[in-house]
Symmetry: C2
């Protein structure tokens, strides 16, 4: 059968089953490593969250299998299904994980959480983990792009829907399934979408990638045991594309498959809040670092932003750290005062700090429908009437202006060092950057 005759499910299944590690370009491998470093830091940094502990207790309520998979940041292991759930939650709960901008997916939380747990259980090496992860991201993001934007607009959280499909593909690859069974696994990922955007603002938002990772593991395990599925679950009648979206674009599955790589569209957040706030923070940090002025001189801080910024982060008077993440006013102020935009800048103390509030009260924002999503202006007006104006369309962390490897290392340490010893953090970071050469993965559970 010619490739052209295959439907989307079969095309993705064949890629998953048959792609060769030797054919993964070096820059693609490196982007996979960058995603791993970012994911691991987020998982460690998120591990102390109350939702993670609750999920671990729930997953173990009825006992579990042998503890062979790591739970980064928790200093212990669990069985692979439990690890997939817990790590999917911990790596997403801070909203600091990666973003594929055209698929509108945070791909690593579902895909890596499944792949790492299974790779550890199977004694896989670093290259096998990376390859399965890259293929899972390819599947998740191509499916995501094929159903966007109507899928997200309808109310689905694609990280847990397309994410489950990608997790299934990654797990199927690690189990060494043939193309037919990879197709079953992908189809069983598609029939277990998680979940609904009504839950945004509750702990369930991060359950979505966690359960998606588990769903992917189950799908691949079932396929490995001969549990059969429809061969056209993505594109078929009453399949994923038709049922979960108004517009399904099959060419987004097939175009350049195996040649271009979705991982190269992945981005990493430099700042510990929603992406929509990043242009403003980036500009404020630049102002603080380079312009000669004292904050006391600033009479007003005027923002021009995309309308979504005020929709999502328009909280004028935040009172908690979490509320601070939904306040572009706080984000601008704390960046100007502290010169940073990490987790610490969004804790309760900084949101309530008088010196931050003093600046925050002088921030004004205007939503401009003509403003791009990655675009913002900041205008400082001094008490003497002087004005300083800056603008960006490519803030740090956007695809056009990505974080450097060094910046990702700094982000990793900022997340991990409050949780683990500095020595462990340094070892994890060094080995993670050399993931493709790791003969085994035991060091992750040992140190993380």
């Amino acid at each position: 059968m010619a490739m052209d005759d295959l439907g989307g499910t079969a095309l993705l299944a064949r890629l998953t089953a048959e792609h060769r590690w030797e054919d993964v370009p070096e820059d693609v491998r490196h982007e996979g490593v960058r995603s791993f470093v970012n994911w691991l830091g987020c998982a460690i940094g998120g591990a102390p969250h109350a939702g993670v502990a609750a999920a671990l207790r729930a997953a173990e309520m009825f006992g579990t299998g042998p503890a062979v998979a790591s739970l980064p940041g928790l200093g212990r292991r669990a069985d692979p299904a439990t690890a997939a759930l817990v790590n999917g939650i911990s790596s997403h709960v801070l909203d600091f994980d990666d973003t594929h901008e055209t698929a509108l997916i945070h791909p690593s939380a579902p895909v890596l959480s499944a792949a790492l747990a299974l790779a550890e259980a199977r004694g896989a090496d670093g290259a096998a983990l990376l390859h399965a992860f890259l293929l899972g991201v390819e599947v998740a993001c191509r499916v995501g792009r094929a159903v966007m934007p109507s899928h997200y607009d309808a109310g689905w959280h694609a990280t847990g829907t397309a994410g489950a499909i990608g997790a299934a593909a990654a797990a199927a690859r690690l189990l060494g399934l043939d193309a037919q069974r990879c197709g079953w696994a992908i189809g069983m990922g598609a029939t277990q979408p998680v979940g609904l955007r009504v839950h945004f603002g509750s702990m369930v938002k991060s359950l979505h990638p966690g359960r998606a990772a588990q769903n992917g593991l189950l799908a691949a395990s079932l396929a490995a045991e001969g549990f059969d599925a429809a061969p056209d679950a993505i594109e078929g009648r009453r399949g994923f594309g038709e049922v979960l979206a108004r517009g399904y674009a099959p060419e987004r599955i097939s175009e350049g498959l195996g040649e271009s790589w979705e991982i190269t569209g992945n981005t990493y957040k430099p700042f510990a809040c929603g992406l929509v706030v990043h242009p403003v923070i980036d500009l404020c940090l630049g102002l603080r670092a380079t312009e000669g002025f004292a904050l006391a001189e600033v009479a007003s801080v005027q923002l021009r932003v995309h309308p979504l910024v005020l929709d999502l982060t328009g909280k004028r008077q935040p009172t908690t750290g979490l509320e601070g993440k939904f306040s572009v006013f706080h984000a601008a102020a704390v960046a100007l005062v502290d010169g940073a935009g990490g987790e610490r800048e969004f804790d309760d103390a900084r949101v309530r700090a008088p010196e931050v509030i003093a600046v925050r009260d002088r921030v004004e924002a205007v939503a401009d429908p003509g403003c791009g999503r990655m675009e913002a202006d900041v205008v400082l007006t001094m008490r003497d009437g002087r004005r300083i104006s800056v603008t960006t369309t490519t803030p740090l962390g956007s695809l056009a202006n990505p974080m450097s490897d060094e910046a990702l290392s700094v982000k990793f340490l900022g997340l991990a060092e409050p949780v683990l010893s500095a020595a462990k953090c340094a070892r994890l970071l060094e080995r993670s950057w050399a993931m493709a050469e790791q003969k085994n993965l035991g060091w992750i559970a040992t140190d993380a």
Copy 2:
């Protein structure tokens, strides 16, 4: 807060948390018992299916917790999550389980599979199991009715979508959660819908209730541990009703809640095939039992049926037992020849039997859009020109003409006796009919 001010999620949560067993009418309890008898027979009879064995191997691929929950028909136990998955599959795989006609749901496969596993793990008694099951069915079927028919038409398999919500409610009840946490559990069931009708015809159709049962268990376990969720996951913006259906009818959640009982709308199949074929089989059995004629005299068998009958079961020349279930021609013929419509009448041997084929070749069918879904005519034309015509709108097994308790017992034994000893079957049946008085549930794992 007045009941009227509560949304659907909170109303269902309050009922789940606060309803009293003393307030369950006797006929409602008895219908719950009838559903249990039917479910247990289906689970035992379905246990030898290859998909059940594959799912059990997959679920245990990475080890499991203590084996405290029964796997009817398999002669062993598993941890509750594994049991929920496996029993949800085994009780649905024969397509012989119950049907709630207005919710378009097979409620027992997802809800009882979750409830029994948890009840066994918790050492609950028969009344607690029944009550949780009745409440879970109430939740599943009210949600199902609120989104029908657009939910099913869109391509969702409601048994695994609304079923997961019902399973979550039943599990939350057995864990003794308060109304707020029951609401979280219901909301987490809603965010894990399974699955897509594209999989009908593959093993994944029965994965849907199995995974739904597991999803319900996880949802309740998470809620019990304090994992919070949106309080309006059913009716809210970007919630289950809006995202998974075009029309959400909130009054179907609230009307008569706690007074009427959805279980009284549950029906049980007398025949081992799709419901659409039941009117024809019922008529053919009646003809064979009461009319004086020899099959050799019959020149033709003419059926008038609802159009869906030929859409779904129009296979003219089936060659396997499974294909026989999708052939109204075989169903009519084997009913006339054997005077029965059980699993045996849909095995490979009966589909290939010359005496059945001889009659099948004389069966003709006409789809009539004016024919009701539960309506059919059968006209026998004899070689001498004599005609015998019968018609029904209330075939055996429909809500208007339900199977008797005795008929359910016969069905149970027909399913269970090929799998378990006659003595075990008899004990299980006797104790199941007295479920409301059982002080514990250990006898299920012992005998089933």
